[in-house]
C-alpha cells in the first residue's frame, strides 16, 4: 500500500510538473494575429470596419485568457487555444468576404461616375443649344465657367478609383453629379427667360 501511495504521489507530481511546463501557444497566437493583419491589409479597415473591430476585440479577450493562464502554476491554455482557433477562422471568413465588398463598392463608384459624366454631358449639350439671346449671354458665360470647374473636378473620381479608394470615389462622383445637375437646371432657367 505504501508503495502504491508513493507511486501515485510520483505520478501526481510528474503530472503537476508537466502541466507547469505548459507554454503559451505562441505559434497559434502569432498565426491569429497574422490572420487579422491579413484581413486588415485586404481592406477590412475600409470595407468591414465594424467586423474588424470585433475581431480585434476578440483577440484582446483571447490574450487576456492567455495572460491569465500564464500567471498560474497549473496552466491550461485549452480555452485560449479554442478562442484563437475560432478567431483565425473568423478572420479567414471575413477576408473571403472582402473582395465581394470591395467589388460592390467599386461597382457603385463606377456607376455614380457614369451618372456624373452623363450630368456633365447633359449640361454641356444644353449650353451648346441655349440661345444666346436677350438677357442670357452673361448668365450662359457664367454657367460655362461653372461647368468648366465641374469638369476639372471630374478626374478626381478616376484617381480615387485607381487608388482603390472606392468609398471616396463614390462621394466625389456624387458631388460632381449634383453640381452638374444644378448647372443644367440653371441653364434651363436661363433658356426659359429667353422664351418669355
Amino acid at each position: 500500500m505504501k508503495k502504491g501511495l508513493i507511486k501515485n504521489l510520483v505520478v501526481v507530481v510528474a503530472i503537476a510538473f508537466a502541466l507547469a511546463a505548459c507554454k503559451q501557444p505562441t505559434a497559434l497566437i502569432d498565426g491569429t494575429k497574422a490572420a487579422i493583419d491579413k484581413v486588415t491589409q485586404a481592406g477590412a479597415d475600409k470595407y468591414a470596419v465594424e467586423e474588424l473591430k470585433a475581431l480585434n476585440d476578440d483577440l484582446a479577450k483571447a490574450m487576456d485568457e492567455v495572460n491569465a493562464q500564464d500567471k498560474k502554476f497549473f496552466k491550461k491554455f485549452g480555452t485560449a487555444k479554442e478562442m484563437m482557433t475560432q478567431l483565425t477562422a473568423k478572420a479567414a471568413e471575413l477576408e473571403a468576404q472582402i473582395p465581394a465588398k470591395k467589388e460592390a463598392a467599386k461597382n457603385l463608384a463606377v456607376q455614380i461616375q457614369g451618372e456624373a459624366q452623363a450630368a456633365l454631358t447633359e449640361a454641356t449639350d444644353l449650353l451648346a443649344k441655349a440661345p444666346k439671346g436677350k438677357g442670357t449671354a452673361k448668365d450662359l458665360e457664367a454657367l460655362k465657367a461653372d461647368l468648366a470647374g465641374a469638369q476639372t473636378a471630374f478626374p478626381e473620381i478616376q484617381a480615387a478609383l485607381d487608388a482603390g479608394d472606392f468609398i471616396a470615389a463614390q462621394d466625389k462622383a456624387k458631388s460632381v453629379k449634383e453640381k452638374a445637375a444644378a448647372i443644367a437646371e440653371q441653364i434651363k432657367q436661363a433658356m426659359e427667360k429667353v422664351k418669355k
Binding site: 465594424e50 473591430k53 476585440d57 484582446a60 479577450k61 487576456d64 485568457e65 495572460n67 491569465a68 493562464q69 500567471k71 498560474k72 491550461k76 444666346k132 439671346g133 436677350k134 438677357g135 442670357t136 449671354a137 452673361k138 448668365d139 458665360e141 457664367a142 460655362k144 465657367a145 461653372d146 461647368l147 468648366a148 470647374g149 465641374a150 476639372t152 473636378a153 462621394d171 466625389k172 456624387k174 458631388s175 460632381v176 449634383e178 453640381k179 448647372i183
Partner: protein, 355 residues
C-alpha cells in the same frame, strides 16, 4: 460541506459585460476621434481590469473573489457612461462648429457669386467656386457618415478654391482700388456734374462697377438705369476687339432712332487721351499686331444682361427714356467707380486686408 462550498463559484460580475459593451459604444460614437486620449485611457483601464477578471476566473472556484474587481468595474462603467455623454456633447459642439464653418464658406462662395453678376470677367472665379461647391458637397457627405477628420481635410480643399476665387477677384479689381485711379475718376465725375449744373444741361455718368447710367440735369440726379457692359467691361478699352468698355469723358455725336440694338447713341470714342494711350501701348507691344484703336462705341438698347462688344447696353424701355434725355453733344462720362465705398470694392479691400 466541502462539496457544497466547491460547487458555489461566484459568477463574473455583470459589470464586466457592460464595460466591454460600453467600449464598443464609445468607439462607434467616435471616441477615437472626438476624445482620443480619454477613449484610450478607458481602453487601457478596461484591458487591465479584464485581464485581472480573466486571472480570477482562471482560479479554482473556491478561491475566486470578484469583490474588489466588481467595485473597479462599477467605477469603470460609470466613467465609460460619462465618456459617452461627453462624446455626445463634443460631437454636437463639433458638428455645430463644422456646420458653422461650412456655412461661413458657403456665404463667401455666395458673396463672390453675387459679385460676379457685376462683372463679366469671372471665368476663373466661377471655375474655382464650382470646384469649391463640389468640395463642400463632398465634405457634407463625410459629415453625414461622421467622418469628421476626412471632412475637415476636404473642407480645407474647398476653402483653398474659395481663396483662389477671392485672389482672382482682387486681381481683377486691383485697378479699382488704386487711389490715384479713383481720384481721376472722381474728378471726371465731378467735372461732368459741375458742367451740367453751370450750363443747366443734361449729362450722363456711367459707373462701370455699379453698372449704372445716371442722368444729371442742372447738376441734379434725375434718373438712373441699370446697364450691361462689354465682355471685358471692367477693363479700360485699349484696342478694337478687346470687348472692353472705354473710360473717359465723351460726347454723343449721333442719335440712331433705329439700330440693330433697338435705339443707339454713338459717342466720340476714341478721344485724344484714348489715342495717346493706344500709341503708348502699341509702342510697348501691348496691342495685338494689326489691331486698330476701335470705335463705334454706343449706348444702345437690346438688354442689360447681354454681353456687348464694349458698348453700354440698356433694356429697351430704359433706352427709350435715355434716348429722349440725350442730344448730340450731351456729355457721357464713363468711370470705373466713383467711390471706394461700393460694396464690392469694400469686400475686396476687406479680403486684401484680412484674407
Amino acid at each position: 460541506m466541502i462539496l457544497t462550498f466547491g460547487c458555489k463559484t461566484p459568477p463574473v460580475p455583470p459589470e464586466a459585460e457592460r464595460a466591454n459593451a460600453l467600449e464598443g459604444e464609445i468607439w462607434r460614437a467616435g471616441g477615437s476621434f472626438f476624445l482620443a486620449d480619454e477613449y484610450e485611457q478607458y481602453r487601457r483601464s478596461l484591458a487591465d481590469v479584464r485581464a485581472r477578471v480573466a486571472e480570477e476566473k482562471a482560479e479554482f472556484g473556491w478561491f475566486r473573489d470578484y469583490k474588489d474587481l466588481q467595485i473597479e468595474l462599477r467605477d469603470l462603467v460609470t466613467s465609460g457612461e460619462s465618456l459617452l455623454v461627453k462624446i455626445g456633447e463634443v460631437k454636437s459642439s463639433k458638428s455645430t462648429a463644422f456646420a458653422a464653418a461650412v456655412q461661413a464658406l458657403e456665404a463667401r462662395v455666395e458673396r463672390l457669386k453675387e459679385m460676379t453678376l457685376f462683372f463679366n470677367e469671372s471665368d476663373e472665379i466661377r471655375r474655382s467656386l464650382a470646384q469649391a461647391d463640389i468640395k463642400i458637397g463632398e465634405a457634407g457627405m463625410l459629415v453625414a457618415k461622421e467622418k469628421y477628420g476626412e471632412a475637415e481635410t476636404v473642407l480645407s480643399a474647398g476653402a483653398a478654391f474659395v481663396e483662389n476665387a477671392w485672389k482672382a477677384a482682387a486681381a481683377l479689381l486691383r485697378r479699382y482700388l488704386d487711389r490715384g485711379q479713383m481720384a481721376r475718376w472722381r474728378t471726371w465725375a465731378d467735372e461732368t456734374i459741375a458742367e451740367s449744373r453751370e450750363k443747366k444741361i443734361v449729362a450722363f455718368l456711367v459707373n462701370k462697377i455699379e453698372r449704372t447710367l445716371t442722368v444729371y440735369r442742372n447738376g441734379a440726379e434725375v434718373a438712373f438705369y441699370e446697364i450691361g457692359l462689354g465682355k471685358y467691361g471692367l477693363s479700360d478699352k485699349l484696342y478694337a476687339g478687346d470687348e472692353a468698355t472705354p473710360e473717359g469723358k465723351y460726347r454723343i455725336v449721333r442719335k440712331f432712332p433705329e439700330s440693330a440694338f433697338y435705339k443707339a447713341l454713338l459717342i466720340d470714342y476714341p478721344n485724344e487721351e484714348d489715342r495717346r494711350t493706344f500709341a503708348e501701348a502699341r509702342r510697348k507691344g501691348s496691342v495685338p499686331a494689326g489691331a486698330g484703336i476701335g470705335g463705334a462705341i454706343e449706348i444702345h438698347g437690346g438688354g442689360k444682361d447681354s454681353l456687348t462688344k464694349g458698348c453700354v447696353g440698356l433694356e429697351n424701355k430704359d433706352m427709350d427714356e435715355v434716348f429722349d434725355w440725350a442730344e448730340v453733344g450731351t456729355a457721357v462720362t464713363i468711370v470705373g467707380a466713383a467711390s471706394i465705398e461700393n460694396t464690392i470694392l469694400a469686400d475686396i479691400l476687406k479680403y486684401s486686408d484680412h484674407g
